[in-house]
């Protein structure tokens, strides 16, 4: 048993001794590195180790949460007391309980890569510099790179619960990205390139820098499109943003509390046949993969949308109790500071058969969206209605044409899914906020707001 699991177990005992009826501890130990490069120099180099625990206490259906970084016996006693005090303030909820019989998790391979530990900081710093160089060298229209960033993390998580649920796992992850600037003072364009892997050995600086350059340069001379309704191709990064929204909508918590646009659509047709979606907490290609979820329930693979039909919602223990079903292993948490809640793990959209070029040809006349902005402000998560800022390329006669900026795309989530005409053949992992693997998507019709 590792020291972290021991610590988690001791904290559960302390919570029970301190008045909790049931208790759960989530303990993490993380080492991170971050390098920021600019103008062929390292701008900052940061390193850190951090440990923290969060304790959830249940007292007669009331739940409280305490967290902290002081892991001494005295510190744990303080955190425990906080959790118990917090529980006494909460109102009782008949469905609140820790997982009682979550079943055995199987070990999951592919979560760690040794290169995170093996590459010294000087070598990952060189990787960040190489990303910047690649962006500058791959296209002469690139004026500068605002920032090239490398980040990695090694994490160990231990969960212990008074009911016996829990476990421990380790993972590593890293990413690099660059924001390239194209054009001159009369008009700047930006482009983001990124890559993710389990370790720095899995990142290719030439590809990441090259993507940043290509995206920035492609936007030079961009114009505002006229307002109209037309076919829209979403590239993988943009499609991923919408799939992330969908991930919230399929969470049972939003559904049970009447805050999901899919709440009344279980078993109904919510998408075109071309759109097939699953949640897969066991696919180690995505950063959300783990043998157990954030409350110790084994992860699994859950089909969500097949043949256009919404098959199920995603559940943690609380929402499963409330809905009279079983947890789908979808308790997530953003760290030791917050208690678990329902969250998608890795959302995976099945690829179709069309190449990107074939998708454009299929669209005929329309717009290809390569970036969206303002998702947190422009989407109503309850109704699914959205209007977000976008940039991209015009599609004329089935091919990419002039670059477009400063327009909006608007629809609602379900209407958009129902009008997916085709999915591209090449999916990509996109880690912005959610962990999503998705190909480019062709939407039959969306409203484009421009001039």
């Amino acid at each position: 048993m590792s020291s972290l699991t021991e610590l988690a177990g001791r904290a559960v005992e302390a919570a029970l001794a301190g008045g909790a009826g049931e208790a759960e501890t989530y303990a993490t130990e993380t080492a991170t590195r971050e390098v920021r490069a600019h103008a062929a120099e390292i701008e900052s180099l940061a390193a850190a180790r951090q440990r923290g625990i969060g304790i959830r206490a249940w007292i007669d259906g009331r739940v409280g949460y305490g967290f902290g970084t002081d892991l001494s016996a005295k510190g744990i006693a303080t955190i425990t007391a906080r959790a118990v005090e917090a529980a006494r303030v909460a109102d009782p909820d008949e469905f609140a309980a820790p997982p009682s019989d979550p079943g055995e998790a199987t070990p999951l391979a592919g979560l760690s890569d040794a290169s995170v530990g093996e590459w010294p900081t000087s070598r990952v710093a060189e990787l960040a510099l190489a990303v910047e160089r690649a962006a500058l060298e791959s296209d002469e229209r690139i004026a500068a790179v605002e920032q090239a960033v490398y980040f990695d993390s090694s994490e160990r998580v231990a969960i212990a619960t008074s009911t016996g649920a829990g476990g421990e796992f380790e993972s590593t992850s890293c990413y690099a990205y660059a924001q390239a600037l194209a054009g001159d003072a009369s008009g700047r364009e930006t482009g983001l390139g990124f890559g993710i892997a389990r370790g720095p050995a899995g990142l290719d600086p030439a590809v990441i820098g090259g993507e940043a350059a290509e995206r920035a340069a492609a936007m030079i001379g961009s114009v505002k499109p006229p307002s109209r309704a037309c076919p829209v191709v979403l590239d993988a990064t943009v499609a991923a943003s919408f799939v992330g929204l969908l991930g919230n909508a399929v969470g049972a918590d939003a559904v049970q509390r009447g805050r999901s646009p899919l709440a009344s659509l279980l078993g109904e047709r919510v998408a075109a046949d071309a759109f097939v979606l699953r949640d897969d907490g066991l696919d180690s290609g995505g950063f959300a993969a783990s043998p157990i979820d954030a409350e110790g329930v084994p992860r699994r693979r859950t089909p969500l949308i097949e043949a256009g039909t919404l098959r199920t919602f995603l559940y943690d223990t609380y929402t499963a109790n409330r809905g009279g079903g079983a947890s789908t292993g979808n308790a997530g948490r953003s760290g030791y500071r917050s208690p678990p809640g329902v969250a998608a793990s890795n959302l995976i959209v099945s690829p179709g058969s069309l190449s990107f070029e074939a998708l454009l040809a299929e669209a005929g006349e329309g717009v290809c969206v390569t970036d969206v902005a303002g998702l947190h402000a422009g989407v109503n998560p309850v109704s699914g209605v959205f209007s977000v800022g976008a940039s991209g390329r015009a599609i004329r006669a089935g091919e990419l044409a002039e670059p477009l900026r400063e327009f909006t795309i608007a629809s609602d989530l379900v209407s958009m899914l129902r009008s997916v005409r085709a999915a591209g053949a090449t999916p990509r992992w996109v880690p912005f906020g959610d962990s999503v693997s998705v190909p480019p998507l062709l939407i039959g019709e969306m409203t484009v707001g421009g001039s």
């Binding site: 505002k224 947190h376 402000a377 209007s387 400063e406 409203t447």
Partner: protein, 464 residues
């Protein structure tokens, strides 16, 4: 408070700084912090999500030739701090630099009348129940209501190799309400917040008004039609309407963007960027405001910085490092989310100063336009100047009158165009709270203005 009392003592700070500069570097700093807080919510009329925690730790930074080396540790154990300093210095290969002897500088934290941690948690739960009730009585169509309460206290100490030793003690309280209204298949939401760098006294007079307001917004939207798409005059409401200025100008004035030539305002200091009727400020000293602090997170006293005077760009916003590069002084805008982050130039409270127009007059002059009362939030790319805002409450303006409510509208445009197109600034003025994200760090910011009119802007809706 003076110096690092309670967090880090002077002798420890001096040892840590000496370790940090053992292999060279122009500047070293240790930032120590103890933070704690309580949050809770009411949802489905049930008090839940009661969470309380405390963290402490420190970050050590060494700056050498344009590179910042940063190591942070949990806890404030002097040995751990020294180890962090040694680790931060490890990449350097130069000769030892001697830090100056520390001199404590007293700071007067913003006054807190009623310490929130001394108010019983049960009273906060009661207040949430009151918010729930106040929202729900607005109408039977209110289907869901979630209200949250949060209090946070951050005590910080900063010591650096220039001999500065100072600290601050910050307390913030904020409540927020999100209401969902439902009529058959129609679902709409309304949200409202109230917050300040203040204690529990913030909630003395009628916090329930926030809930009523959020509920009324959601109910109004039930009758809303689709928003128009196209270019039109836009009148923006006061208070959180100021997020427009925050996004389209404020971020572009942060000196890190400017120095990388990744801001549309780079090279425009002294230039006329707006009509003469517009003046604007960043002010970290506004009493009790959400974005205020006594000092920034590098120990520089906060200040009121005029950024636009009669339409002319007068200042960028600096932290220590970016000020040094420009040969300027820090404007007290070096902020960080916590001891786990490096400071970067950030806004505090940013606002357009009151003008002389009345909201009625500026709306009355518009034949056909859009009235954006409030926003859900916004985003800008400072390099291109492209921005986007989600409108949370909007109406059509027809023949000088505010008419039908609209849903799902987005405002989109380019900073310099939109700033230059502001042709009326209202005499009414108030501030609102926001949480601003940049470089992976979230900090509390205030935004404010009276009503403002933009002669032409793109509204993105579903009605072509």
């Amino acid at each position: 408070m003076s110096g690092g009392d309670g967090l880090i003592d002077s002798a420890v700070a001096e040892r840590v700084l000496a370790c940090a500069l053992a292999c060279g570097g122009e500047f070293a700093e240790v930032f120590a912090e103890r933070r704690g807080g309580l949050t809770m919510a009411i949802d489905e009329s049930r008090v839940e999500s009661v969470q309380s925690g405390a963290e402490e730790g420190a970050g050590v930074r060494v700056v050498s030739g344009g590179t910042s080396y940063f190591v942070h540790v949990d806890g404030l154990d002097p040995d751990d701090l020294e180890r962090a300093a040694v680790e931060a210095a490890a990449a350097l290969r130069g000769e030892r630099t001697e830090p100056r002897a520390l001199q404590a500088r007293a700071t007067t934290p913003l006054p807190i009348e009623q310490r929130p941690e001394e108010v019983p948690a049960e009273r906060k739960a009661e207040m949430l129940r009151e918010l729930d009730e106040r929202g729900r009585v607005e109408g039977g169509e209110i289907a869901q209501l979630r209200a949250s309460y949060g209090e946070a206290r951050r005590r910080i100490a900063v010591a650096n190799s220039d001999g500065l030793l100072t600290g601050d003690d910050r307390t913030r309280v904020r409540i927020g309400v999100q209401a969902v209204a439902r009529r058959e298949d129609r679902v709409e939401t309304g949200a409202e917040t109230l917050g300040g760098h203040r204690g529990f006294e913030l909630l003395e007079d009628d916090p329930g008004a926030i809930a009523a307001s959020a509920a009324r917004k959601a109910l109004t939207l039930l009758d809303a039609g689709p928003a128009p798409a196209g270019s039109t005059p836009v009148v923006v409401g006061g208070g959180f309407g100021g997020v427009l200025f925050h996004e389209m100008t404020g971020h572009g004035l942060e000196a890190d963007h400017v120095q990388k030539d990744a801001s549309v305002y780079a090279g425009k200091l002294g230039a006329q960027v707006a009509q003469p009727l517009l003046s604007a400020y960043d002010d970290g000293r506004m009493p009790g405001e959400w974005g205020s602090d006594a000092i920034d997170d590098e120990g520089t006293p906060t200040q009121k910085t005029e950024v636009i005077a009669d339409g002319r760009l007068t200042s960028f916003l600096y932290d220590r490092l970016t000020a040094g590069r420009d040969g300027a002084a820090s404007t007290g805008n070096g902020r960080r989310e916590s001891f786990r982050h490096l400071p970067i130039p950030r806004m505090t409270n940013t606002y357009i100063a009151p003008g002389d127009a009345t909201p009625e007059a500026m709306i009355g002059e518009v034949q056909k336009g859009f009235y954006a009362v409030s926003f859900g939030g916004g985003q800008v790319d400072p390099a291109t100047g492209d921005f986007v805002f989600g409108v949370s409450e909007g109406y059509l303006i027809e023949s000088g009158r505010v008419t039908a409510p609209c849903r799902g509208a987005t405002l989109i445009g380019n900073c310099l165009d939109a700033l230059g197109a502001i042709d009326a600034v209202g005499e009414d003025f108030w501030m609102k709270t926001g949480i601003c994200g940049k470089g992976g760090q979230k900090v509390p910011v205030g935004t404010g203005q009276g009503h403002v009119r933009i002669a032409a802007m793109t509204v993105g809706g579903t009605e072509v």
